[in-house]
Amino acid sequence: MTNTQENLARQSIASGFSFLGQEAGFEISESSIEYWADDSYQLALFVGILNTFKVAIIGNFLAIILGIFVGIFRLSPNWLLSKLSESYIELARNIPLLLQLFFWYAVFTEIFPDVKESLNPIPGVFISQRGFFFPIFKEHFIWKWVWMTFIGGGLLTYGTSLFLNKLREKTGEKKSLLPFGLLFLFVVPILIWFFGGAPHELDIPQLGGFNFSGGMTLTPEFVALMLGLVIYAGAFNGEIVRAGIESVSRGQWEASQALGLSRWQTLRLVVLPQSLRVIIPPMTSQVLNLIKNSSLAVGIGYPDFVAVANTTMNQTGQAIEAVILIMGVYLFFSLSTSFVMNRYNRSQQLKERGA
């Protein structure tokens, strides 16, 4: 401890977190909230947390879907499909993630053309070294309401499905969820959009000077990070799903076949629900791994939390505080994820026993 204090004193670094209030003085290339270089370190770090969060949510969502497909394909009776999935898994698992990230980033910056000669596969969509550019709808107050009713509709649909399930358990009557879902998710938001003036003007990316303006942009850093993380984690998730499906005994397959269920029905209604019990615990650690691995973003310059904390550390010299912050934030992410996943796991386990 005395060593540390002497060393800090020599480099004239004040310990403590008071630096958080100071002006950060660096730009962050992409941010979900308003941030300027003269904002505080606190806000800069918060932008980093939001970016990490964004990557974690989208990345895990895509990686789990990819994993489910790959795991099912891996067990397909079709030789070609199964072998292709296997090769993908082996290839993605046995190459370091950081190398894969560098690779995808290099593909973007070296193979895709300069902004001036952007690829233009569909009108309004541009691909270049600077990223993907899409058109989006021009800002209008009604879009906010459309989105809110859409999300509310999703919750309502979920509630209805629970209610219909209860109803079926009580009366044995099976009612389709489809009309309710269509109503809540599409009809209501579309009506709101229509009566709100039906805004349909597009904000199309325009080439001006050195880059596009307008529309929506996915930066090469973000796309490369997503590609790398999803491809890497998808392979591990695929193996987990495969192991889960294989853990369900053959008798279940045969029994469902005897009942006249198709292969797809068997998988969806009989095997997957049972395999969830085996899948969820290792999947939890994979979800956590993806969150932790997203910290490699610092290697290709995506401004995630570690990247911002690293810049902060270099500028202020507050090494101990920065490392503590990094550890604290990731611990928070890890603990809250395991909390959610454990709850989900418990719900699956209970159903198992009740059945």
């Binding site: 190398l99 560098f102 290099a106 193979i111 490392v323 990094i326």
Partner: protein, 364 residues
């Protein structure tokens, strides 16, 4: 009696073309849906592999300079030819290159020799110890007229192998100790071990490497500077020990309760019980996941790039900075990926084989 088991006797008797047709009918075109999937996949494969083939083989450049490469569309293999020594060995003095080459060959040779489970004994352990000393001497030099090479000139594949291998041989025993502490009955030690393991497993490895590169120097007494390589190595060991501990804990839990009780009944002390009865069984059970953790560690050594240590990935990145050879990243990364893949894939195959060995009569 000479009975030979063949899996599918009638299939053997078919002529080749007919056999192929039967196989295709069964595996690719069994149902209309399957046929459709197969055709779509074949189409996609053709679409993807065609350009790849053209890029890598037909249009690739094997001779010439960067200019020739830029002129051609294909892969620039001249770049790899030019740079592979640097990618593999970093800034190691060119005239002494035979030393890391010999060290790596010996290392890989002994790895291959140790593949067979039957050869696992004390003698092998001694051989490994001798090998480590020999390799360290070869890389470092400074004795018997061998020119000394300073640690910051080590790089490329040897550095990656050192980080992974030294990481493994230290994190394994530390992991065992942590696992014993976690499953033991001493509350304070148990709490310490649990918090260490969960803390480390909850944070990304990068944060540990940052800690090693920027925090360790602050903790050191005046005048003592640990080389960066050593600090990174300590971070890797700290990180991997936590993961090893969880693997070993799985093994400890998998050993039959009766074994613990029998050892207690014989009046063995705690350490006798663990060293002579429980650990030999527990460690054997978890050999396959241990190898998997080792693969993970091998891949994770690449993270030292972030703190600018010249491991294999870093030398690859550095080779791209050469102003004469700008713009061949894809070739360089594919080359590095191939090396990593060869190592990781053979380890994972080996882990699969060990799994079989230990599940069928590996108890002897």
């Amino acid at each position: 009696m000479n009975l030979k088991y063949t899996k599918n006797p009638e299939k053997r008797s078919l002529p080749l073309m007919q056999g192929l047709a039967v196989w295709m009918k069964k595996n690719l075109f069994s149902t209309p849906l399957n046929s459709a999937i197969s055709l779509v996949l074949l189409g996609l494969l053709f679409k993807a592999l065609g350009p790849l083939f053209y890029w890598l083989v037909v249009n690739s450049t094997w001779e010439g300079t960067a200019q020739t490469c830029r002129h051609n569309d294909g892969a620039c293999l001249v770049f790899i030819k030019e740079k592979f020594v640097f990618i593999l060995f970093g800034f190691y003095p060119r005239e002494l290159l035979w030393r890391p080459v010999v060290a790596i060959s010996l290392f890989i040779g002994l790895c291959l020799y140790s593949r067979d489970v039957k050869r696992w004994n004390k003698l092998l352990l001694w051989r490994w110890l001798k090998l480590i000393l020999l390799c360290a001497f070869l890389l470092k030099g400074g004795l018997f007229g061998f020119e000394a090479v300073s640690m910051d000139r080590w790089g490329g594949l040897p550095l990656t192998l050192i980080l992974a291998f030294i990481g493994l041989i230290f994190s394994y025993p530390i992991g065992i100790l942590l696992a014993l502490a976690r499953t033991g009955s001493l509350p304070l030690i148990k709490a310490l071990s649990v918090s260490y393991i969960e803390l480390i497993r909850g944070v990304p490895m990068i944060s540990l490497l940052f800690m090693a590169s920027v925090m360790f120097p602050l903790f050191m007494p005046d005048g003592i500077v640990l080389p960066k390589l050593l600090r990174a190595q300590i971070a890797i060991i700290m990180f991997m020990s936590a993961y090893m501990a969880e693997v070993v804990r799985g093994g400890l839990a998998a050993v039959d309760k009766g074994q613990y009780e029998a050892a207690d009944a014989l009046g063995l002390m705690y350490w006798q019980k663990m060293l002579k009865v429980i650990l030999p069984q527990a460690l054997k059970i978890v050999i396959p996941p241990t190898v998997n953790t080792a693969i993970g560690m091998f891949k994770d050594t690449s993270l030292v790039v972030i703190i600018a240590l010249s491991d294999l990935l870093m030398t690859t990145k550095t080779s791209l900075k050469d102003p004469k050879w700008l713009g061949f990243s894809v070739e360089a990364y594919l080359f590095a990926a191939l090396i990593y893949f060869i190592f990781c894939f053979s380890m994972s195959r080996y882990s699969k084989r060990l799994e079989q060995v230990f599940s069928y009569g590996g108890r002897s």
